[in-house]
């Protein structure tokens, strides 16, 4: 399991999980789980288009995830956010269906774009992943205060000159950046599981944002480590273990929160 060819997998998976945990905290806080699902799944059309043109799939993923994120933001000017996200997603998937019908790509390769191929990371893939991960985390650090303000109390943010629409666009762009780094490695579906479940679980344990972000990244990293080990031993797909562990950790978080409420029936704040 710790052979030399697995080193790249461990490295790439750790970077991906830590980034997804941090970005995912804001996705859960803002109620943008749908966007976090739609951008990676829609961006998959970009990879299909890149395969058609014979260019690097990361480029196709990047262009499509960014265009999709900005398109969702643009549609969301007048429509409800969830409707805008659904419309943006289906348009991207429709294009994906068109590209797939034109290309001669084999089904297993598409399967790996959706469900990931984490056990086959090559060493020249690790560096771009690390670079994009660093940029995503840097973007979150730069945006930290306005993003937090706008996510928690939108009206106060508006009053202090932090536009809600502008923050939404910025956040979707960060999701797009994270997507183009992670989808080739872990697949569109796994990316989504890594973003939502650990962050949702972390929020059950603490209400302090800094601690919750760290906890979320920690849970995501442990989830992917256990999943890779289990997948290596059993031969079953990594995505299954990530999805199952995500649900288990969230159930654990909800259980802990319920237990704490039962122990202290009347909190001082209430």
């Amino acid at each position: 399991m710790f052979d030399s060819f697995m080193i790249n997998t461990w490295l790439a998976a750790t970077i991906v999980a830590a980034t997804a945990g941090v970005v995912g905290f804001f996705a859960v806080l803002r109620g943008s789980a749908f966007a976090a699902h739609a951008v990676p799944q829609g961006a998959f059309a970009g990879a299909a288009g890149a395969a058609l043109l014979g260019i690097n799939p990361i480029l196709g993923l990047g262009v499509f995830s960014l265009a999709g994120a900005l398109g969702i933001g643009w549609l969301g000017r007048r429509a409800r956010t969830d409707v805008a996200t659904a419309l943006g997603l289906v348009v991207m998937l429709g294009l994906g269906a068109l590209f797939l019908s034109w290309s001669v790509e084999y089904a297993p390769e598409i399967f790996s774009l959706l469900f990931g191929e984490v056990l086959g990371v090559s060493s020249d893939e690790v560096l771009p992943i690390a670079g994009l991960g660093a940029v995503s985390l840097a973007a979150i650090v730069v945006l930290y205060r306005p993003l937090m303000l706008s996510s928690v109390v939108g009206e106060v943010g508006e009053a202090r000159g932090v536009g809600r629409r502008r923050m939404e666009m910025c956040f979707l762009a960060v999701v797009a950046l994270t997507t183009s780094m992670t989808v080739p490695v872990v697949g569109a579906f796994l990316m989504f599981s890594l973003m939502i479940a650990p962050a949702a679980a972390a929020r059950c344990y603490t209400s302090r944002p800094g601690v919750a972000i760290g906890l979320s990244a920690g849970i995501a990293v442990v989830t992917i480590w256990v999943s890779i080990a289990a997948s290596y031993e059993s031969g079953w797909p990594v995505g299954f273990f990530v999805g199952a562990l995500g649900a288990v950790s969230y159930a654990g978080g909800r259980g802990y929160a319920a237990w704490r409420r039962a122990r202290r029936p009347a909190p001082a704040a209430a």
């Binding site: 109620g31 996200t85 419309l87 797909p237 299954f240 649900a247």
Partner: protein, 304 residues
């Protein structure tokens, strides 16, 4: 003249039995999705509606693995997921987003496992692609009566619950004040949505299922504020886009670059999106005209 039309239609578009089945099933599914979609959009449950199609696909791949008709897998998994979502707090807008995300994540993990088993024991790797992207032209004729029957049942439920559902969709508070069992109505809506989404995901693919559920309804609600009219417009847009999409896909066999047709999902999705953009532009124009009419009277009022 009618002879000419007859030959053109029978020998051409409608002459092919797969096109006839596609038109029949597509119409039934588009009608039900359009009507359920108006309630889904008004309730802000688009994410749930989309997730149910992916979740249904998990059930479909599971059914493929144990060797039963995918229809039952789609319906069973959809109903189970709907129940779990309801228990996890679908009613509260704040909990809905995360609950849907967790259930969807777990289900996608299961889908990966089922598809892996399918691929390693039965060598049907194409299953994931056909379930996700589906093709309306390869519907198994044997399931057509079942699909039409379920669509009719869903439509009947919707018509029966029409007024109650609308009241709950518009305002839960008013509905519960008037003694409507809000939670029960919510479960009924969820189950009809599961039915509509599973049937459309099975017959025309998970992509089109979301497009038909959300697109026509969102477009209709941009054009009119009257819910009854919105239901009719949404169903009309869904059916029109489906028919035009099928005709275009049939035509596209002669188009470049490939020797085979363009996917029908692409046409239907694009048409629905164009309908939405048109409806959006119309509502903006109308808003501007209204503002222009109102402006002089305001000015007059200020003068007095």
């Amino acid at each position: 003249m009618s002879d000419l039309l007859q030959t053109a239609l029978v020998s051409g578009l409608l002459g092919s039995s797969s096109v006839r089945i596609a038109a029949l099933v597509g119409t039934a599914v588009a009608l039900v999705s359009g009507v359920v979609g108006v309630h889904t959009v008004m309730r802000g449950q688009s994410f749930v509606g989309h997730s149910l199609s992916d979740i249904g696909a998990t059930g479909g791949s599971g059914a493929l693995f144990i060797g039963v008709n995918p229809l039952w897998g789609f319906l069973a998994m959809g109903a189970v997921a709907g129940g779990v979502l309801e228990l996890m707090g679908l009613r509260r807008p704040r909990g809905r987003d995360v609950a849907t995300g967790i259930v969807l994540g777990a289900e996608l993990g299961l889908a990966a496992l089922f598809l892996y088993w399918d691929a390693s024991f039965r060598s049907t790797t194409g299953a994931s692609i056909s379930i996700l992207f589906g093709s309306i032209f390869v519907i198994n004729p044997a399931i057509v009566p079942v699909v039409i029957g379920f669509c009719a049942a869903a439509m009947a439920t919707l018509l029966l619950l029409q007024r109650t559902l609308l009241l709950c969709s518009v305002s839960t508070d008013i509905a519960s004040a008037r003694g409507v069992p809000v939670r029960l109505v919510g479960v009924a809506h969820l189950m009809v949505m599961v039915l509509a989404v599973s049937l459309s995901a099975l017959t025309i693919g998970a992509i089109l299922s979301t497009a038909l559920l959300i697109g026509p309804a969102a477009a209709a609600l941009r054009v009119t504020r009257r819910p009854g009219l919105a239901l009719i417009i949404a169903a009309g847009i869904g059916v029109a886009a489906t028919w035009a999409g099928i005709a275009l896909a049939y035509e596209s066999y002669y188009w470049p670059p490939a020797g085979h047709g363009w996917p029908v999902s692409f046409f239907i999705v694009t048409l629905i999106f164009l309908f939405y953009l048109g409806a959006d532009a119309l509502s903006v124009l109308r808003g501007r005209r209204k503002a222009r009419v109102r402006a002089p009277s305001l000015a007059a009022a200020e003068r007095v």
